[in-house]
């Protein structure tokens, strides 16, 4: 009997998962276990499934995902730190028929870019904003972020975040949900298969809102890990995230179809 080669195995009928062609073949620059790559992939899968590859325009941030444009295979612009919503605003206003999205970390969206975030949301720009909240500045080596949890150790809060002197974690998603300019606001995660499926449904809903011309921003927070910044192994970081991040940053929809979701 002839030996079975790799080529014999890699056949369409044997494949249980195929990478979307809207992810490039470049090696991701992310640490193994990091949620950024999964979030990228979900966005690109949705763009492909919606048949929007020729109409999508993405805005990348400054942060670990600064190179998002290397991986997401659509037209992309790389913004200055925090300014992605301003770029996206103009792109959408000047090309109302295009599908425009921004992708930002928590330092980018909730610290240096707070004004751009709040005002793009408040004006009700018809864009999708994806917000990766990992509670830390990954790219610059693990400094405190506006989202760093109380008591959490980072390189600039080496004894833990002291709320008295360092201020409180900022729940940006709750904040933007209050603004009349947001249409859909949700908080999801991508650390387990079921979380991934749910997050993808939400991302699809967000992009569909834009395609349907729904008024306002569709805003998706993804609570994610930064195993390197948190100084944990990937699996341990996911457990830590479930135990510490999720109680503070509760997963679920905050606003759907322009209506705030009642807390049970």
């Amino acid at each position: 009997m002839a030996e079975i080669t790799l080529q014999d195995i890699i056949k369409p009928e044997n494949q249980v998962y195929v990478k979307t062609k809207l992810m490039t073949d470049k090696n991701l620059s992310y640490c193994p276990g990091c949620g950024h790559g999964t979030a990228h992939r979900l966005i690109m899968e949705v763009v492909e499934e919606l048949g929007q590859e020729n109409d999508a325009i993405g805005i990348a941030p400054v942060g670990c995902s600064v190179l998002a444009y290397e991986f997401m295979n659509v037209d992309m612009q790389e913004a200055a730190h925090g300014r992605a919503p301003a770029l996206a605003t103009a792109v959408k206003r000047l090309w109302p028929n295009k599908l425009v999205f921004s992708y930002q970390g928590d330092g980018d969206l909730a610290a240096i870019g707070t004004a751009e975030t709040i005002h793009a949301c408040n004006r009700g720009e018809q864009i999708v904003m994806v917000f990766i909240n990992n509670g830390i500045y990954g790219m610059t080596g693990g400094q405190m972020a506006p989202t760093t949890l109380p008591g959490m150790k980072t390189s600039t809060s080496p004894y833990g975040r002291d709320l008295q002197s360092m201020g409180n974690p900022l729940k940006m998603t709750e904040l933007v949900a209050q603004l009349p300019g947001t249409y859909y606001v949700t908080r999801q995660a991508v650390h387990t298969p079921s979380a991934v499926r749910k997050a993808k449904r939400c991302i699809r809903k967000a992009f569909q809102n834009q395609l349907d011309g729904k008024p306002g921003v569709s805003f998706i927070e993804i609570v994610s890990n930064c195993n390197s910044g948190w100084k944990m192994e990937p699996v341990a970081s996911n457990i830590w995230m479930e135990e510490n991040m999720f109680p503070y940053y509760e997963l679920g929809d905050l606003k759907v179809d322009g209506q705030l979701v009642e807390k049970k």
Binding site: I57, E78, A79, L87, L94, W95, H119
Partner: protein, 361 residues
């Protein structure tokens, strides 16, 4: 002959933006240029030409809106005054790096800091030396009349798209606020989306079917690649230096002394020329229209012709004078005169300075 109107400089700039086929104006109010966005809002340019006008939350946001919009190949523009332009420097640096065309008008006021709201020319360094971080230059046009506030808008867009760079229009509170007769050019239709897509293949307006997608970024983590990109930028700046110098010369042919002045200072100095000639002093005026690239050649020619001295007249503590000195290289006298902090010099003061600092005893 185009339509004649009596307008403020700021209004002429705004009207010219609509007529130049600008697709988007994004701005934030600041004196002495708020008339620009006020005029635009009142004119409903969206109804006239389809032009989008948006009041942003800050100059930081406006300049980054220009990055986004300009990156899609649309004609985008903002205007501000000194403190607001300082806030835009980060964005301008990114756009220089990513090679995004746009036009930014600075109606300069007195500084530093909040300064005042009176005319000044103290943003020369910031305008011509780069302004933000990194090795870059921006073409800078300096209007000296309400007419030029209008004419320089389409010219700036030509340069911005020809060289894929932000272009600055640097005027001052005097040019912005004063009213003069202006002959408006006929409206240039905005490009259609299809025209934009066909004309600017680098622009990120949706990956074309069957073609490579586009990326606009100023980042390259590989220093050798970034150096190469910088070489490319420097080549572009060299070409701009060679091809885009603009200036005006008045009464220079027989002049013993030359005043070099731009914008409002050039207007004031024209009167000085007349006063000097009445006294038998032969003075000419060299007016840089492009502050960068700086008109070195005509200065060099004047030195070679044997003029006895140059007076740089600026509403600043002496900024352009440094570029003149770099050109003259001590072959003849170069001095600076100017009032600043929002104070405007009179033609008589300029003549006095010429006599004291250049003609001497």
């Amino acid at each position: 002959m185009g339509e004649l109107r009596l307008m403020k400089g700021n209004e002429a700039l705004a009207e010219a933006a609509i007529r130049a086929g600008v697709d988007g104006y994004f701005g934030y109010p600041i004196t002495p240029q708020s008339e620009v966005i006020e005029y635009l809002m009142a004119e409903k340019p969206f109804e006239r030409t389809g032009m989008v006008v948006l009041q942003a939350e800050s100059e930081v946001a406006s300049i980054n809106m220009l990055y986004g919009g300009g990156g899609t190949g649309k004609k985008v523009m903002t205007s501000s005054s000194s403190p607001g332009i300082s806030l835009m420097q980060e964005g301008l640096s990114y756009m220089a790096g990513a090679e995004i065309p746009c036009v930014v008008a600075n109606v300069v006021r007195g500084g530093p800091g909040l300064g005042d709201i009176q005319p000044a020319q103290s943003d020369y360094f910031q305008s011509v030396k780069g302004g933000g971080h990194g090795d870059y230059r921006l073409p800078v046009l300096a209007p000296a009349s309400v007419q030029e506030m209008s004419d320089f808008v389409p010219l700036s867009f030509d340069l911005a798209f020809k060289y894929r760079t932000p272009v600055l229009i640097v005027s001052d509170g005097l040019i912005g606020q004063m009213m003069e007769k202006v002959e408006l050019f006929d409206t240039i239709p905005r490009l259609t989306d299809e025209e934009v897509i066909a004309r600017y293949p680098w622009a990120t307006n949706g990956k074309p079917k069957g073609k490579e997608r586009r990326i606009l970024t100023s980042l390259d983590l590989d220093p050798h690649k970034l150096e190469k990109h910088n070489f490319h930028l420097q080549d572009k700046y060299k070409q701009i230096r060679e091809e885009e110098v603009r200036y005006e010369m008045i009464d220079c042919d027989d002049a013993d002394y030359i005043i070099i002045a731009y914008g409002s200072s050039a207007r004031i100095s024209q009167k000085t020329l007349q006063l000097a000639r009445e006294e038998g002093i032969k003075v000419g005026l060299l007016r840089p229209i492009t502050l960068w690239p700086f008109p070195k050649q005509p200065i060099d020619d004047l030195v070679n012709k044997g003029v006895k001295g140059f007076l740089s007249v600026e509403m600043s503590a002496g900024q352009m004078v440094e570029d003149i000195r770099l050109t003259v290289r001590e072959r003849t006298k170069v001095e600076h005169f100017g009032r600043y902090g929002g104070v405007i010099h009179s033609p008589e003061e300029v003549l006095e300075a010429l006599k004291n600092k250049i003609i001497g005893d």
